[in-house]
Symmetry: C2
Subunit: 201 residues, 2 copies
């Protein structure tokens, strides 16, 4: 579990290890990162990692899980904060904005999740699928609510919409640098593209 704690100090060290691992996995990939790399980034010796984690795969599994868990928690919190009168369209807008911010504030974990999930052994992947399924369900609910409210065309496949939208949003990780647009401005554009398209009226 990502939330298990022993002592505060030990759990703080765990987090330092995970932070370093997430960053290195993102930058160099899983196979390109050694336990010695991770330990060095934390100012400790390679063998010491094994006091906190049973194996390199365990570190990976926890990074991957946090990489999807944190955006999901952020989305839950953001939707909970919304006024009950918020329209389905506003809720989708908030979701895109929240996901985009999570990609960058939890960037190392979430980048690592989307980049190296597929090289993880199946048993490691399976430790993330429950959270992932839950997150996908939340998105499907947002889209279904939009449809029920009569705001969507009747002929679109919501699953394909979700995959296309998340793909376009996640791509931001690969190119975004602060400057021209803020993340909120990007979120505005993505929702606008998705809802209204880019064709002239």
């Amino acid at each position: 579990m990502a939330t298990v704690k022993k002592t505060d100090a030990a759990s703080a060290t765990r987090l330092r290890i995970l932070d370093a691992a997430a960053r290195l996995f993102r930058e160099r990939g899983y196979g390109g990162t050694s336990q010695r790399d991770i330990a060095a980034a934390c100012g400790m010796q390679a063998g010491s990692l094994y006091y906190h984690f049973a194996s390199k795969e365990d570190v990976l599994a926890e990074v991957l899980e946090l990489g999807i868990e944190r955006p999901m928690e952020a989305l839950k919190a953001a939707l909970d904060e919304l006024d009950e009168s918020a329209s389905p369209k506003e809720r989708l807008h908030v979701a895109v904005r929240t996901h985009l911010h999570a990609l960058f504030t939890q960037g190392d974990y979430t980048s690592a999740h989307f980049r190296i999930m597929h090289v993880a052994p199946m048993e490691v992947q399976s430790r993330s699928v429950a959270v992932r399924d839950e997150y996908e369900t939340m998105w499907m609910t947002l889209l279904k609510d939009l449809k029920k409210a009569g705001e969507l065309r009747g002929d679109v496949d919501l699953r394909i919409v979700r995959l296309f939208l998340i793909g376009g949003v996640n791509m931001t990780l690969d190119w975004y640098r602060e400057g021209e647009y803020t993340l909120d401005q990007l979120a505005d554009q993505y929702v606008d593209f998705m809802m209204n398209g880019i064709a002239a009226n």
Copy 2:
């Protein structure tokens, strides 16, 4: 150069090595694939690879380059085949369809390109940037032609459109299995989403 040849036999072996490497890089990542893994998949010994490639990084560089070169060549060919009277919108449609097909017929190379490009040493990455820039320019041209033809809203940033669209299309690599939709049907939906959006009229 990807097109250099010595003898036919040597170049056929090179290609077998590259095919195996692309598949393994895609499945296990770069650091998770050893030269011995690649050699074994080709039915040869690890040392023999060095008759064809100077280093593991050289194999990587060529896989990455082919992973973007092939979709680009496919796009060029597809656009050249189009009737001159083809509208900008038809040309964009053909581009999306062609890119999507290239993702799957050259899947190992192109997947490897998009998945492990960022873990490659900068000097290896730089061997692909020229092709990548050219490919991006082709997409920008398609979008600019659409705009010139008056078919696009005036307020959209074409660069963001390109990144969002390619991101959504590339995401297909992560989930597509034959069955519900053909690739052509997916391309139709993506272009429809991008041009017209999903909002009710």
